[in-house]
Symmetry: C2
Subunit: 351 residues, 2 copies
């Protein structure tokens, strides 16, 4: 299953609205087939693995990171393919989060006399599938807030300078995230102040995330580097979209982040990296739309400066928002602390 | 030497103005004597170790965490005692930081035909001796800034509530620090707002640090829990001291932290734990009098709230104060990040 998860990882950021999935077929202790889902419309992981295994699939054990599908979608059901190939046992990391189909794949195997185990490395699989699970359950992308602050909690000087809070290794890691998340979002203030391109740089085989600018008041220059083909402008204004669309920017109408996120979900974007600025972050926080936080802390002191966020600002410290499953890791000279504000949806603990 | 450092640790917080020192005497692979410095006026580590070793010290190797003294202080020179006992080899972690005596102990051994090695586990020894080194070199205590903030950099809510930012394990660790540092300092605002006692709690064999209140304007109630015997009030006011002294509080006159720290040094206080509030921390930062930072980061988000500090507030991020030798460690659910703003004084790199 470990290998299946590693295979699945190769599809992360490429498969939306489908999940990244990996499959390994083992015949008497030897791996005879490997597959992962490449992108929506392409065959599923199980099919690639069965093709490689060929006749050796008969009597084998198939390890799959997500319950094989039992219904006809863009491709025929993988459960049927595994049964037809004569697989003797199926090991599944996590069940499908969609209540309409969850457990159906497992039932199909059992009805065909195939042994099924569920739950092997389930936590890791669920984390890898967070975007897919969010899309299926909530109809919106899984939102990851990212920021970098000094050891006294500042993301920029009073005059707005933030180059750089963190060192090279942290900034490289952020480009890996851009490569793996479906979309990246900033507010129009950040576009005006920093003129970012929000592309993925220096990653072998990397691709750019869909760049999303939240611009309620339509302030963004249509020629801004961040806009163009593959970018989305979200605005509450009825006017001015034609100018933006000339360069290929897709314009979506929404006057709040609550209204905007389902639109992004309907485009099949399963994960969103929220990079700022503070006003946009606060809007997400106030709407309870941040699922995960990844914060870099740099070992330096700034003093007065800009804070990463201004909401929710409760009266008592004990009312602060707790992150669950928090983890810490050193990244060059800096420290990365990450955790979740929401549980990743599974049928056991969906919200 | 590792064992000598562990022995020395037992004296930390008890030996000022002397350094904590450990000594282990080894005869043909067997430890025959152990000693550490208990407190000023008591015999040094080497003397305790020689007493235990007795005749077995002849031909032995002595491991000492600090260069043995060569001059008559409150006790006779340890170098002479080691020579008289017939020690064959002396291994020293770090040289004495006092330019008037540094290297003299080593010379005495060499003159007596005893082999000497210097520099074994020197970094760890120097860290353990930071307070002594600061006192000898700068005439003031080594200042350790401590605070606890949320993952968005806030130490309290806007209304001032800070109970609690961190979990139990972090708060217990702070009591260990209070037990090991000579003094603890807060500003009068913190005394007014929080009514702290600043004592060491729940540590076996613990003792309270000397409690220091910086109160330029003489606002502190003489009956405050933090005052009394073993406490110091630092004020710029000429009046009102009699009231404070009634309960045993020592009153020192200083109108700035620059003036106050040498007074604390002259009382033999070698380490100072600075706990806040923000105004006092900023005064220390502006005077460049913070040597080390220990910051807890709790995995929670608060939004608007109080920041740990307001100085130095440079215009550019690259002008932020960098911490050197920073380290990270998980403490229960929280993260401790520590580092130094100043190098610990040694003769090689004193400032």
């Amino acid at each position: 299953m470990r290998e299946a998860l590693i295979l699945a990882q190769r599809g992360v950021g490429r498969t939306a609205p489908n999940p990244p999935v990996g499959c390994v077929i083992v015949q008497v202790g030897t791996v005879v087939g490997r597959g992962f889902h490449l992108k929506a419309g392409e065959p599923h992981a199980e099919i690639f693995a069965l093709r490689e295994a060929g006749e050796r699939a008969r009597g084998s054990t198939a390890y799959v990171t997500l319950e094989p599908c039992s219904h006809h979608g863009r491709t025929p059901p993988c459960a049927d393919a595994l049964i037809a190939a004569g697989v003797a046992r199926v090991v599944v990391a996590a069940l499908d989060p969609n209540p309409a189909v969850s457990g159906r794949g497992v039932e199909k195997f059992r009805a065909a006399g195939i042994a099924v185990d569920v739950g092997i490395l389930a936590d890791e699989a669920v984390i890898q599938q967070a975007g897919f699970r969010s899309l299926v359950t909530w109809g919106r992308p899984w939102v990851v807030l990212k920021y970098a602050m000094t050891l006294d909690g500042k993301v920029a000087t009073l005059s707005g300078d933030s180059r750089w809070v963190t060192g090279e290794p942290a900034r490289t890691l952020v480009h890996h995230w851009r490569n793996e998340l479906d979309a990246i979002a900033v507010g129009s203030g950040t576009v005006l102040a920093d003129r970012p391109s929000l592309t993925t740089r220096d990653i072998d085989g990397g691709r750019d995330p869909v760049r999303v600018v939240f611009d309620r008041r339509g302030r963004t220059d249509p020629g801004a580097a961040v806009l163009g083909l593959g970018s989305i402008l979200i605005t509450g204004l009825e006017t001015a979209s034609a100018l933006h669309e000339v360069r290929g920017t897709r314009v979506l109408r929404a006057s709040s982040v609550q209204d905007a996120l389902p639109l992004l979900g309907s485009l099949g974007l399963s994960t969103l990296l929220l990079e700022g600025g503070p006003a946009l972050i606060d809007a997400f926080l106030e709407a309870d739309l941040i699922d995960e936080v990844r914060a870099f802390v740099a070992p330096k002191l700034l003093g007065a400066g800009q804070s990463p966020l201004g909401a929710p600002s409760p009266k008592l410290m004990k009312q602060a928002l707790d992150l669950s499953d928090s983890q810490v890791q050193q990244v060059g000279p800096d420290v990365l602390i990450q955790g979740r504000l929401h549980a990743i949806p599974t049928l056991e603990r969906s919200r």
